[in-house]
Point group: C2
Chain length 334, copies 2
């Protein structure tokens, strides 16, 4: 095999992406025994990427690192001894190797096969937000048909997926949003109730849910919004935080913990993946892929960029007011 | 039976105790069918009493109400049809009837018998703090021998009992205190480590516990102290709040919830008592009474007052710097 080069978004130190991230071309050795060469079809930009690059995340890659936790790729060559994969197979790009590049070599072990039937952009976004939304709705409270779930950041990718999954499973969702113009899009994907995320929301949720207040609250904002969610919960309800680390602190909801037996939990998909069995992980994706294929689970796309436009792409991904995810199409041939 | 009068600390509305509480003499009808007349031997003053009187507590008595959640009394007369009790029996004063009085009439059902062998003051304090300490140490984390527990307000009554129970059960305790002069008394009751409750405590706990950080943190302070406890916990550790509602708010420990899988829970003995079985409640006291009788569980007493000195008693009970509980001896004959 002729010597390859690859282009990748790399950082040598932790800091703001606009300061530390660089697009580099570098030689790529051919796949060794047990390895495969992947071309990255599409890669998503997630809030966790920001934390991985600036150093605030719970796990960090060894430096220098290729950024990008999530993407989908295609096997273009296999090393000696690789039996389970062949060129042309579509697979998940392993999150710890960095997906913001056009090519990479990685171990063939445990690569997750991805059906061809998934639209490429939805496939690239299938590995972080959909499993997060699924686990958030299943791992903390045994929701019954008709039960309410309340979430802030309803317009985020996880927020949209929570709305869609709740609809599929027969639960009702209340989504709090910061901008009123987000409401229509959420109703279009199946939101039961959309409210502005302000102090009036507590009474509004009480009115809408009556004698069956929400049993599960999903927080990725923090600050007063996180606190409001605790006030909306039924006794013995569970409040799960899965994002928003960098935002405003909120007061500790002491009273609700004591008198209403509310519990505050956290969810981190990385930990779930580390502790789940291989079978458990494959079962989860076996459940999710058909829902994504059918379009019942779908994340809105704001924009798609080639790697060289990464400054524009990142700025857009981390600006308020966007309506969907921003992706790279690293190996797309124009 | 001749007509009786009784003296009781009563409030007609909710507010600061010094404004709303009055010592009143009132006629007491004799025990009706299924009822008993009790003389209150001793009654404790607890933080929860303050919340019940000022209206901030999770459950409130119908007004006018006799204050006082906890006390021990003696049956002095029984009404028709009472078979299970006789004059002279020592029993718990039911918390919902008000214990800050010299006599009361209450239902004979479910009265908890209290052994004569318990010192009267320890008996009066046996029903709130000892079961709270026991449940805190048993209901949230399955502690193993040698595991560490960390608590703030180490010098509170529950704090002292947690130290004593941890020692009995083979767990190690770290107690954070606000005043250094409290440390010796806590070491005397079995504290393994006593530290000042300040920012340096986080590193000090890390040093002391090494590779086995505390799995359980008990918070009755709130504010920055509550937040520090979350930082001391091992991954998957549990932080339980059981008091401190009125204190400073603390920031929401988002990062620790997400990355360390810390959970924040609450405990309220009233709820436990409401949901536990009669058998469960009796088993708990059957376990606790011998420990209290032997002196292995013991709460320090700061002062004992007759009912008429209630203003002084309450002031002392709710002032910082005291070394133990303040009690009433309502029916004591001088």
């Amino acid at each position: 095999m002729a010597e390859l080069t690859r282009r990748a978004l790399v950082h040598d130190r932790h800091g703001p992406p606009e300061e530390v991230l660089e697009l580099r071309s570098e030689p790529l050795p051919p796949p060794d025994a047990g390895e495969v060469l992947l071309e990255v079809e599409a890669a998503a930009i997630n809030p966790a990427d920001l934390g991985r690059i600036n150093g605030s995340y719970g796990t960090l890659a060894r430096l220098p690192a290729v950024a990008g936790l999530e993407g989908v790729g295609r096997v273009v060559a296999i090393g000696p001894g690789v039996g389970q994969l062949k060129p042309g197979n579509r697979v998940r790009v392993p999150g710890d190797r960095g997906a913001w590049c056009d090519r990479l070599v990685c171990s063939a072990d445990d690569l997750l096969m991805v059906p061809e039937s998934l639209p490429v952009e939805q496939a690239a976004m299938a590995f972080v937000n959909p499993p997060t939304a699924w686990r958030l709705l299943h791992d903390f409270v045994a929701l019954q048909p008709g039960d309410w779930v309340v979430q802030n950041a309803g317009n985020s990718a996880v927020g949209q997926l929570v709305i869609q999954l709740a609809r599929i499973k027969g639960w009702k969702s209340i989504s709090l949003v910061r901008r009123p113009e987000a409401a229509d899009a959420l109703r279009a994907v199946g939101a039961d109730v959309v409210l502005l995320d302000d102090d009036e929301a507590v009474a509004a949720v009480r009115d809408r849910t009556g004698k069956k207040p929400p049993r599960l609250a999903l927080n990725s904002v923090g600050g007063p919004s996180a606190f409001r969610l605790t006030r909306m919960l039924a006794p013995e309800g569970c409040h799960v935080t899965f994002g928003g680390m960098a935002r405003d602190p909120a007061p500790f909801p002491t009273r609700h913990l004591i008198f209403n037996d509310i519990s505050l939990r956290g969810f981190w998909l990385t930990r779930w993946m580390q502790t789940a069995s291989r079978t458990g992980i494959r079962e989860l994706f076996t459940t999710l892929f058909p829902l994504i294929e059918s379009g019942r689970l779908k994340v809105a796309v704001e924009a798609v960029y080639p790697l060289e436009d990464y400054r524009t792409a990142l700025k857009r991904a981390f600006s308020p007011g966007r309506r969907g995810k921003v992706l790279f199409r690293p190996a797309a041939r124009s």
